[in-house]
Amino acid sequence: MIQLESVSKRYLTKKALNGISFQIEPGHIIGLIGSNGSGKSTTLKLISGLIRPTRGTVLVDGEIANRRICSKVSYLSELDSYYSFFTVKETVDFYEQTFSDFNRKKAEEMLDFMKLDRNQKVKHLSKGNRGRLKIVAALARDVPYILMDEPLSGLDPMVRQSIVRSLISFIDLEKQTVVLTTHELQEIEPLLDTVILIKNGEILDVKSVEEIRSTENLSLVDWMVKEYGN
C-alpha cells in the first residue's frame, strides 16, 4: 500500500503540493489526473523516493520512501533518460545489470510485442519507439509498484494503443499496482480502477471510474472539467 500523509512539497518559494493525503490499495491501476503544473509529477517523484517531502510522510508498504525504495518501485520518467549511444539491446542489458528484479524474458517478449529492432541505436529511434522502449524498461521489472509519468504524451494513436495493450498484457494485478499520470483520459479510462484528481497541489477528489459512470453518467474528461469548474 502507498500512503501519503499531509504531504507538502515546496520548490524554493513555489509550493507544488499543499498537505495532501491519500492511500493506494494494491492490485489496482490508478490514474493521477489534473492540469499541467497541478502536482502530478511531484507526487510520483515523492512516491519513487526521488525527492523528499518538505512536510509529511510518504510510505510504501510501511517504509519511508527514500532513494532505496526503488527496490520496490519502478519509475518511468516523462523525460527521455536513456543513453542515446546504446542500442535497444544494450539498453535492456543495462537495465538487467542495474536491477536485480529485471525480468529478461518479459523484456524480450515486450520488445517483440512492440516490434522494436534490437540493433537500432536509441538516438536513431523515432519518438514513438523511444516511448515504447521506455515502457519495456519500466514494465519488465518484477516490482510491486509501477509509476509512470505521462507514458502516452506526444505519441500517435497507434503507439498509444500498443502501450495501453502492453500495460494490460504485461502487468500482473495480483502482484502489481500501477499509478500513472496522463492527459489522454479517453484512451486510458477503460484501464483505470480509480482516479485521483489534483488541482493546484491539492486533492479535489478520489473516485472509482465506474462510479463516475454509474452515478454521474459522465466520461472521465467531462467529470474532470466539471470538477475543475467548481
Partner: protein, 125 residues
C-alpha cells in the same frame, strides 16, 4: 481493437451486455467456454479487474459458471438462458417504446409502423 464504450453506463455492465449478446447470437454456445479474464481484458482494452467484475455479475445471474482451474463456461441451464433472452427482448422493446412515446407516437402508430416495416421487408427480400 474492440468497439468503444459509451459513457452512460459502467464498463462492466456494457461488457455484460456484449457477452449476453454473443450467447444469444450463438457465438458462444451453451456450455461454451468464455475467454480468460486476461484475454478478454486485452481484447477489449479494459482493466482486468473490470472483466473480473463482469464475470462475477454474470455468475451471480447464473448465466455463467466458474469451474475451478478450468475457466468460465456458459451455463447449460436452458431455463436461465431462455429467461435472459426474454429479458433482453423486453429491455429493447421498452427502450423503443419509451423513445417513440417521448416523440409523441401513439401505441397504434407504433404497432402499425412495425407491421408496415415487416410487410415491406417481405416484399423485397
Amino acid at each position: 481493437m474492440a468497439e468503444l464504450f459509451n459513457t452512460s453506463a459502467p464498463i462492466y455492465l456494457q461488457l455484460c451486455d456484449r457477452i449476453k449478446n454473443k450467447i444469444i447470437r450463438g457465438e458462444i454456445g451453451i456450455g461454451g467456454q468464455l475467454p480468460s479474464v486476461r484475454d478478454l481484458a486485452i481484447d477489449s482494452g479494459v482493466n482486468p479487474n473490470t472483466v473480473q467484475r463482469t464475470y462475477r455479475e454474470l455468475e451471480e445471474a447464473g448465466i455463467v459458471e466458474k469451474r475451478r482451474g478450468q475457466g468460465t463456461f456458459v451455463t447449460e441451464n436452458q431455463e436461465i438462458l431462455q429467461r435472459m433472452r426474454n429479458q433482453l427482448k423486453q429491455q429493447h422493446i421498452s427502450g423503443f417504446v419509451r423513445e417513440m412515446s417521448e416523440m409523441g407516437y401513439s401505441k397504434s402508430e407504433m404497432v402499425e409502423g412495425l407491421q408496415n416495416y415487416f410487410n415491406k421487408k417481405e416484399e423485397k427480400p
